[in-house]
Symmetry: C2
Subunit: 343 residues, 2 copies
DNA sequence: CGTGCCTAAGAAATCGTTTTCTCGGCGGTA
DNA sequence: TACCGCCGAGAAAACGATTTCTTAGGCACG
């Protein structure tokens, strides 16, 4: 019968008439023990429905068989993808994943990271809004750790990132090739590293195309932010809009639909990330594809190397791939332009 | 200076010239200790950058400050929502979340659940495909635990569920009211409880409407399954399709679009769950809304009650809410029917 | 002035393992 | 036959905290 109280190693030892050491040895198959005794121990363990306490093991072994991941927002499909990639890859090595999202609390992010790290063996840090100096400050206490989407060269930890700076350019060029000259960028969080990266890319683009005007508009990171930005977009008289990410683009898309603004005839919209659902919007979203699941998997590969002391694998820097779909089209002629044309 | 090696409680004790007991007392504020000494201890702790090992605490306190959640598929937005709800609610009580998805390995699901449970204080079990008897068998060893979407009355654990049986009926009635008489149901996993629940609901519906014919077609749980079912749907000559969930519906939608079948003019399609993206498809998806995030939050409420020994809150059984959007419309007249009309 | 209680801090037990360390016995060789 | 070395199993230390148990000292009261 299964013991009502959790059975311990000494219970098994008593039942098999051996010492706890021997039970441990049998369970872990470390040293060679007399086959007869081993069998007796296994039987006793079975009867008592014994399995070693992970806690006690962790304490003495110094490893928890757990990795943590901190993401800014569990509602964002991109971070969900990273979590999924990490979780599945780690599971293959019999590691579990401790998850937390920091929501909007940038201030306590580093404390949270520390706590997570202390109850796991390693951590994946995805904190686009944490100030660079603070990040550098806490990193040593977080090791082993990998960082996602922070490209500060001073970071000692392995880094996985998408090259947002280079990745946004093809989107802009795409719009340019379609004849768009008045563009708007719906910003993400102003202080996030991924936002500033995109801005750098766009600045470079503008420098190469003096005939383009680019408006920076307040945006955000989710549907509602894109939705709320609709009026500002129309007021800007831009014909092409680069949204911070797919969610923002979808929100904008919905708002434009409600206002009767035709996409892409009156207005072209691009997203970023290529979340699964980007191809199912109306029209399907032109975007730049970031392999989130793969980033999560690769994060595990880096972490695993750190954990077993292997030579650290190279940093990963993926180039987002332009994905042209229906939400972008030729720039409207001046006459048939969007409602905002002032004359 | 921060110690290079993790500082322990005895290090702090030595530095403050007190016993480890006193340090512990100060850190936890349990007994009253001399203010001067307390200050000395705090200073020492600060200087050594000390924070107690969660592992050691867990071992002696018998709680890990962690809850686990097992979901069948981390890629499914519904389970992501539950995870999010759980994680955020638990975080408010300073609990962390250990996450795992069982993917397609039903066989090892109960082992995985046990492992997860043993390294946490409680578990949320979301295992729609685990056989009922096996579920009943493992539940005792998993307590404290809550179960999501299993309505077996023999279950001792608190249960959170959506009433799929009752919830699918309004969808069917909706199609019926639109004139559809030939319906098809794209099944989920045949052995999943949520699939059989829907089937029960549909059977009842059919019993009340003898003039309706319902085809059961093999489907699945993800985009690709819905996509792949397109030909079978057309061959069935159904005018209204109830997909197992929104993902399947979206896959079907895409396939129909490619085939030039107009939705809802030629074919009406409904989903289930009302994932965030359901309103952004073309046309937007008629579906039944399940509050996944709230289910996750309520799971935490139940778990928390169990953990602190409160009276268990009532089981939750939510009724999915019909959400009519653009993917359903009047049944086509016989002449203008879908491509499958054989003449 | 002595006894008793209360407080505050240290000593030691505990949580459940793993892993040295130690010791007894056995076999092989000189 | 005696000794050395090895092997298998138990004893004990360690992991890093918390918490009971103990004890010393101070204060109040008789």
């Amino acid at each position: 019968m299964a013991a009502t109280t959790r059975s311990t190693i000494v219970a098994v030892a008593r039942r098999a008439n051996v010492s706890p050491s021997t039970v441990s040895r049998v369970m872990n198959g470390h040293t060679t023990v007399d086959p007869a005794i081993a069998e007796r121990v296994r039987a006793a363990a079975q009867e008592l429905n014994y399995s070693p306490s992970p806690l006690a093991r962790s304490l003495v072994l110094g490893r928890t068989q757990t990795v943590a991941i901190l993401v800014p927002d569990l509602a964002n499909p991109t971070f969900q993808g990273m979590l999924r990639g990490l979780s599945r890859a780690a599971a293959r090595s019999n590691y579990r994943v401790l998850v937390a999202d920091s929501l909007e609390t940038v201030s306590e992010e580093s404390l949270l990271a520390g706590e997570l790290r202390r109850s796991s063996d390693a951590i994946v840090l995805c904190a686009p809004r944490m100030p660079a100096d603070r990040l550098l400050e806490v990193m040593p206490s977080l090791a082993p750790a990998v960082v996602i989407n922070r490209d500060d060269p001073r970071l000692a930890a392995p880094t996985l990132s998408a090259d947002y700076e280079a990745g946004i350019r093809p989107l802009a060029e795409h719009l340019y090739d379609l004849g768009h000259r008045r563009l708007a960028y719906l910003e993400g969080n102003p202080h996030s590293s991924s936002n500033t990266s995109r801005l750098r890319g766009l600045d470079a683009f503008c420098a190469d195309h003096p005939d383009v005007s680019l408006d920076r508009l307040p945006g955000g990171v989710a549907f509602e932010h894109g939705y709320a930005a609709a009026d500002a977009v129309l007021a800007s008289s831009a014909t092409g809009v680069l949204a911070f990410n797919d969610l923002v683009a979808m929100g904008l898309l919905a708002a434009m639909h409600e206002r009767g603004v035709a996409v892409p005839q009156d207005l072209s919209i691009t997203g970023f990330d290529d979340i699964t659902f980007a191809r199912y919007t109306t029209p399907a979203l032109t975007t730049a594809s970031v392999p989130d699941v793969e980033l999560g998997e690769q994060a595990w590969v880096r972490l695993h190397a750190l954990l077993v002391g292997d030579a650290p694998a190279d940093d990963v820097r993926v180039l987002p791939r332009l994905e042209v779909r229906g939400s972008t089209g030729p720039a409207p002629t001046r006459a048939s332009g969007a409602a905002a044309s002032s004359d």
